[in-house]
Every structure is written in structure tokens, then in C-alpha cells.
Amino acid sequence: MSVPETDSTPAAPLLTVADLRVTLATPRGPADALRGVGFELARGETLGLIGESGCGKSMTAMAVMGLLPTGAQVGGSIRLNGQELVGLGDDAMCRIRGNRIGMVFQEPMTALNPLHTIGTQIAEPLLLHKGLTRSAARAEALRLLERVQLPNAAQRLDAYPHQLSGGQRQRVTIAIALACGPDLLIADEPTTALDVTIQAEILALINELVRDSGMALLMISHDLGVMAQLVSRLLVMYGGTVVESGPTAEVFAHLAHPYTRGLFAARPRLGAPRVAGRKPRLATIPGRVPELVDMPPGCPFADRCAWVIDACRAAPPAPVNVGTSHDARCLRVGEIA
């Protein structure tokens, strides 16, 4: 690795997030959106953040990209290639964003500018970060469009976003994200707006690009199936904390945290057996996600958990090791498993 080694370990991970805290200003007072999130991501590794609306998965990605809403207070540390990103100035962050970190968002129509051709939009980061000439950037844009397997790439270079389908647009945003050869690709629900067959194509493309380029992938999704297909490690988030983390297969096999279990049980399953011609009722998680301002001092899931005991409400539970690099923040994890 050519980057300066600032950590004590010989092979420092590409991205180290430690005790990340984000406090947002809301009309009802300060709200803790992230309450001590920590994880590491090595080069070439794929990591998934899963959870429901408001759990903090997108907030985590926004914090890494330095795109938090104004008035947000950030604590803890985010290190990329050993460089601290928390507290980094706007200019310095702009040199990293789109350059060392590529981003793909959910809605490809709003992510692209409708007034510029896709060729111009793919060339933009190359002109800004790499100092390429216009003609060199255009040639590189064509190569990128071919790499994301856009059909008739040469003719499409001068097309506008509205002339492309949703899946083709998402290929273009991926090409923009890849333009500068980033170390880290952040994909926030990249296939949620797409049809299932197009989703399968885009997931296969991301998989292939990550494997070939050696960049790391931070994938955000609410879809367990997407995660199973794409990431090797999984973080399950709830109430601004990581409640379970581990290799995807391990998490799926053990479902150590009560919230992870609830999430799996609530999902309708294709081909589940019928009883008297009807599917059995889905298991639901009682109650609802607490609002950030009202987050309880103890375990955020305590009010909805079937295993809750008094100690759960006293203080946030510490991570308990339940397998090889597999942790769950639950006091009763030993009894549940």
C-alpha cells in the first residue's frame, strides 16, 4: 500500500469508523442520530448496512461522505487511508468526494442533471480531480460507459438522461462513481427504484466491478436478499447503533439479535407453505421505531423486544461475541441462541 501508515497495525484497513456520533438539531431539541457506530472496511471487502427507516444507515454513509445536514454535530472518528475525515474542511472533503469515494444513490433520475449529456457528466469528475483535457476525458467517459456495459456506448455519449431507461441511468451513475478509480464505493439503495430483472443486472454489475477493481463496497439496503447476494459482512442497525455485525452467512444462520430475528420473520417468503389455502400471518415486531429525540437510555429495541429484562433498560448493552468476528449488542444473546 502506498498510503502513509498512521495506524499501529501493519495492514491498516481502508476505512475505519470509530465511535461515530451524529447529533442533529430538530424542532424538539438535539437528537442523537448515530450513537457510537464503529466498523472497519478493508480494500476489496464488501460491507452491508441493513435496517429500517431512521435506523441511521444512510446517516452513516452521509457522515463518511461529509454530506451531513447543516447543524449536525459529529463526534468520533472516520479514517480513510489513515486520513481523518471528521472535522475536515470543505475544500479538502471536495477533493476526496467523487475522487477517493464514489457514490451511487437510489434515484438515478434525480442524481443526474437533466440539462447535460451523460458524456459531460461522466467527464466532470475527470476534469475536476484528474486534470484531464476535454478530449481525454471524453475518451475515458466512453471507456467507462463500455465498462458498465451500456449498450451502444459510443452513440449514447451525447444522450441526455431522459433518453435512457432507469437501469441505463443507474449504469451511468455507476460510471460517474467509478470515473476516478475510487478506493471506496458507497451505494445507497442502488436498485430500490428498479424492476427486479434490472435490479439483478445492476447487482451483478456492481459485484463484477468490485471484484475486478479491488475497491471496497459500502452497501446500504433494506433488502435482505440484496445483501445476501452482494456483501460478505453485514451490520444490522437499529436506533443509531449497530445491534449485530458479522459475516453475512453467519448473521443469516444465527440471527443472534432479537431485532435481526424480527426482521427476518416479518419478511414474506416466496414459496412458503399454505395452510388451508392461506398463508399463515406474518410475524410482526410490536410497537414502532422510537423517534430519535425519544430514544431510551438503554437498549433502543427494549420496548419492542420479547426477551426484554429490566437490565436492558438501564444502559446500552455492550457487544457480545457470538462467533468468529460476529457480535451482537444484546444482554440475553447467550440464552436466545
Partner: protein, 273 residues
């Protein structure tokens, strides 16, 4: 089942004329529906699956009589909806209601829940309307006190319950639900799907259930229609269509479901309550 079906759609065709591109050529025509036929019996659920542009939502608009088809008929309880006079249609609308995908966009933010839910009631006295709103809110698991709140005070799942209460208030025979759970989180989606099943068991409601999510359709529907480019490519009992698909398009849809082999719905791991 041999009795007359609740809903009978026959040879439905819908063509849209696009803006003329050239003075010397006819305006281009899109064939959104190319001859759709199916029947649904009372108290059953029919799923409509297919990708964007396959004609699912166009079909929903014809069934809801929001648009007139180019040809073909939609018969509900034996009456052809598109042959009714405007006044007859307004009266007939109490038998079929719709639930939309986006619980944020489908509720007027400036009206209170009581007024939103009461909107489909026509010619009903205020006292009775209030009583019926309370009953509808109860049926979907909301409180009486919610009647004076505004939509922004509710979560996404609760808003979808409000939308379902609005559909229920006329005691309809048929509810057309266009992607009713797609915008919801998994655990909230489970609550709304259970609610739809409960309402069907209690009131015998028939659902026309449009979704791109095959697992959800498999869960909700007795029968399923697979659409591609305005045509039905496969239809039959859900179990048969999704487990032994005969058309290549159905197979490709099923093959594209991500992580289809992953363990899920492992109810055995939950505490026995």
C-alpha cells in the same frame, strides 16, 4: 366456484395516442393493454405482476373506471362500469375503492384524518359519517382520537392504514391496491399485509393486488396474472404459477429475485408467545 364472478374483465384494450412528431405522419400510438381477460370471485385475491411498462397500472385505472378503455368491458357485480351514466357511476363507486402506493402523496396534507377518511361518503349525514369514520379507523387499528390529526403526525405505516380506512368506509366489495406496501419498511409491511388479510376474513373483501414483489404477491394472492407489454403471458393459481412457471417471462422474473435461496421468515426462532 360456479357463481357469477365479482369482477369480470373481458378483452380489455387501451391505446394511448402520443403527441404527433411529424406533420406528415400519423401520431404514434402506444398499446398499453392488448386484450386482457380475467375474472375474480368474491372474497378472493388476484395478484397482477409484471415490470414497469407492462400495463399493470393502466389496467388498474380501467378497472377503477378512471379511464375508458379503447375496447373491451369491465363488469363488476354484473354491471359494465364503462356503460354506466356518470350519475350511476358515482353511485356504483361505493362498491370499488383504491389504495395507492405512496402513503405520503395520496393523503391531502391540509385536511384532518376525519375528513380524508369521510371523503368517499356521499349524501351521508354528518353524525353518521363521523360514526362510520370511527368504525373504519377502528377496523384498521387506529384510534378515535386520531380523527382530528393531520397526516404528517403519522408514520408511513399508519398513513397507509388511513388510506385503507378511506377505502373501507363505503364498505366496498372490491379494493384495487396498487403497490400498497412497496414504500413501507419490512416490519411495517408485515403489519399492513396482516391487516389486509384480517379485513378480507372479516368483510369478505376482494382484492386486485398489483405488485412487483413476487414474495408479497405469493403471500397475499390466491391467483396471479403475469403481464408483459400489455398482454397476459401466464395466469393461474399463485402456487402453480410461482412454483411451476410455464412461461419464460415468469421464469425470468422468478430467477431475478435476489437471494431467493436465503433463509427468511424463520418463525421458529421467535419466542413462543
Amino acid at each position: 366456484m360456479s357463481e357469477t364472478p365479482l369482477l369480470e374483465v373481458r378483452d380489455l384494450v387501451k391505446r394511448y395516442h402520443l403527441p404527433r412528431e411529424n406533420l406528415f405522419q400519423p401520431a404514434p400510438v402506444v398499446e398499453a393493454l392488448r386484450g386482457i381477460s380475467f375474472t375474480v370471485h368474491a372474497g378472493r385475491s388476484l395478484g397482477i405482476v409484471g415490470e414497469s411498462g407492462s400495463g399493470k397500472s393502466t389496467l388498474a385505472r380501467q378497472v377503477m373506471a378512471l379511464e375508458a378503455p379503447t375496447s373491451g368491458s369491465v363488469r363488476l357485480l354484473g354491471r359494465d362500469l364503462h356503460a354506466l351514466s356518470p350519475t350511476e357511476l358515482i353511485a356504483a363507486r361505493r362498491d370499488f375503492q383504491m389504495v395507492f402506493q405512496d402513503p405520503y402523496g395520496s393523503l391531502d396534507p391540509r385536511q384532518r384524518v376525519g375528513r380524508i377518511v369521510a371523503e368517499p361518503l356521499i349524501g351521508v349525514a354528518a353524525d353518521e359519517a363521523r360514526q362510520r369514520v370511527a368504525e373504519a379507523l377502528n377496523a384498521v387499528g387506529l384510534r378515535n382520537s386520531d380523527i382530528d390529526k393531520y397526516p404528517h403526525e403519522f408514520s408511513g405505516g399508519q398513513r397507509q392504514r388511513i388510506a385503507i380506512a378511506r377505502a373501507l368506509i363505503t364498505q366496498p366489495q372490491l379494493i384495487v391496491a396498487d403497490e400498497p406496501v412497496s414504500a413501507l419498511d419490512v416490519s411495517v409491511q408485515a403489519q399492513v399485509l396482516n391487516l389486509l388479510a384480517d379485513l378480507q376474513a372479516e368483510f369478505g373483501i376482494t382484492y386486485l393486488f398489483i405488485s412487483h414483489d413476487l414474495a408479497v404477491v405469493d403471500h397475499v394472492c390466491d391467483e396471479v396474472v403475469v403481464m408483459q407489454s400489455g398482454r397476459i403471458v401466464e395466469q393461474g393459481p399463485t402456487e402453480q404459477v410461482l412454483q411451476q412457471p410455464s412461461h419464460i417471462y415468469t421464469r425470468s422474473l422468478l430467477a431475478a429475485v435476489p437471494g431467493a435461496g436465503t433463509p427468511s421468515a424463520r418463525v421458529d426462532l421467535l419466542p413462543q408467545a
